[in-house]
Subunit: 301 residues, 2 copies
Amino acid sequence: MPKSAPENLKLFWEGLGDVRQAVDRRLDRWLPKPSDPPARLPQAMRYSVFAGGKRIRPILAVLACRAVGGTDQAAMPAACSIECIHTYSLIHDDLPAMDDDDFRRGKPSSHKAFDEATAILAGDALLTFAFELLTAKISKPTIAARLVSELASASGWAGMVGGQMADVLAEGAAPNEHELRFIHQRKTAALIRAALRCGAISGGADADQHAALTTYAQKVGLAFQITDDILDVTATSEDIGKTTGKDRASKKLTFPAVLGIEKSRAEAEDLVVGASAALKQFGPAAEPLRNLAEFIVVRTS
Amino acid sequence: MPKSAPENLKLFWEGLGDVRQAVDRRLDRWLPKPSDPPARLPQAMRYSVFAGGKRIRPILAVLACRAVGGTDQAAMPAACSIECIHTYSLIHDDLPAMDDDDFRRGKPSSHKAFDEATAILAGDALLTFAFELLTAKISKPTIAARLVSELASASGWAGMVGGQMADVLAEGAAPNEHELRFIHQRKTAALIRAALRCGAISGGADADQHAALTTYAQKVGLAFQITDDILDVTATSEDIGKTTGKDRASKKLTFPAVLGIEKSRAEAEDLVVGASAALKQFGPAAEPLRNLAEFIVVRTS
């Protein structure tokens, strides 16, 4: 919870506790049980899913679904599926051959709590489970197929995995704004965009609503990653639960490294203003999404 | 190509060359181009997909589709998707933290030809691409959603990934037939079963056809893995393009280790007889599937 965030945003974020709990209850119910054989695999899947994530992506999916008049229940399969994909990406990114991070959300990362083989397989299983969930828990095939398509393209070679590959390749490269934007659009923004679009699809959005939420999503996704980059420079490890200063140490392409902290902060704030403006047609129904966009850039963890 | 296989099976296998080529042409057309950024990722995906696989799973999907009166074209999305999943599993299984294999199909494995980070990401991207492909290339959402469901459950925690986890955990364990069957049903048989069921779904199988092909698939899948285990003991590395004798060296649970070679061979042959018998209702339309079942146990690579 952000210490420096304005009071109204803190209250808003706390108010989302029930959505967070609803998502956690569904994940607990839908994920394989810790005793399902081979038990080590479901245990590793659950360890990382329940390691204290903020659930921003599922919350975005639920809020998008609400904004177009859908129920929270309708958004749950997509919301949980996206959190499984997000968690798998963290497990694989933390591996020694990738970012080599021993901590995640303040706890040992999967390959430290278990071992490398288990971490690789737990990631693979969570990614696969995300797609199983969409088809198992959504009765309308037209909706299920659209969600699979949306999530697979956002998280695959042209989305999240591609961003991660470009990120690995860019380590130590000279600052390059074009490359930086290529990476950030894919590595983080693509899945955040998908979270909102999947929420909209689950809630039965019409074409105009879908387009507006996509514009919002694009901007919020980038603002989120810029803020992550800034937090890596300014926050303490205790605040964000993983080693800070790692981006600079490993010579990652980040917004602060390429544009400087002030310009980065200004861009994130502009993006939030643009994101809120994109939701004009929704009126007060989009107030939670506007608050969440603001929260994303003022958070301190 | 099997040296010791009877002449008719050799001819049959060669006659499948056009299916193999059709699958390869589709994979080439549908996979991201080698120049698509970040180029290293599509290059690594394509390197492993086109590293000389036998394409047994896509062929099974096409033959199942034909047996129920479907066109080859109808089977192609599922066939290619399954090959992408199979290839991803090989890339991840070969990683140093898993089976640590430097060669696959006679060529350097992905983490040797590229590096570990690229191999992890190429596997992730191929798995994700499999689901993207199903929704992008199949116009009927009911079919697409059924295929996603089938493939995700066959390759996830309760299927292939679970089998791989159990396999890793069983290394060095005392011979245990129950555990052996648990592993083999999941590690290999589940995806082979899915290949046939997906071919059947793609071709519009009715419930009886689907059930018969499932029985056939169950038996052929297990026969395939038993044969793999036997080949690891009896074949040369040159024949099968990867290090042989590795199972024994790493104390894996295999059929020869638990039941002995002769009993293993007898079980594989029984399974093939049972598999062929399950296809009675199809008459001559299932002749290719009967031949393929026989081929699977007499192959020498």
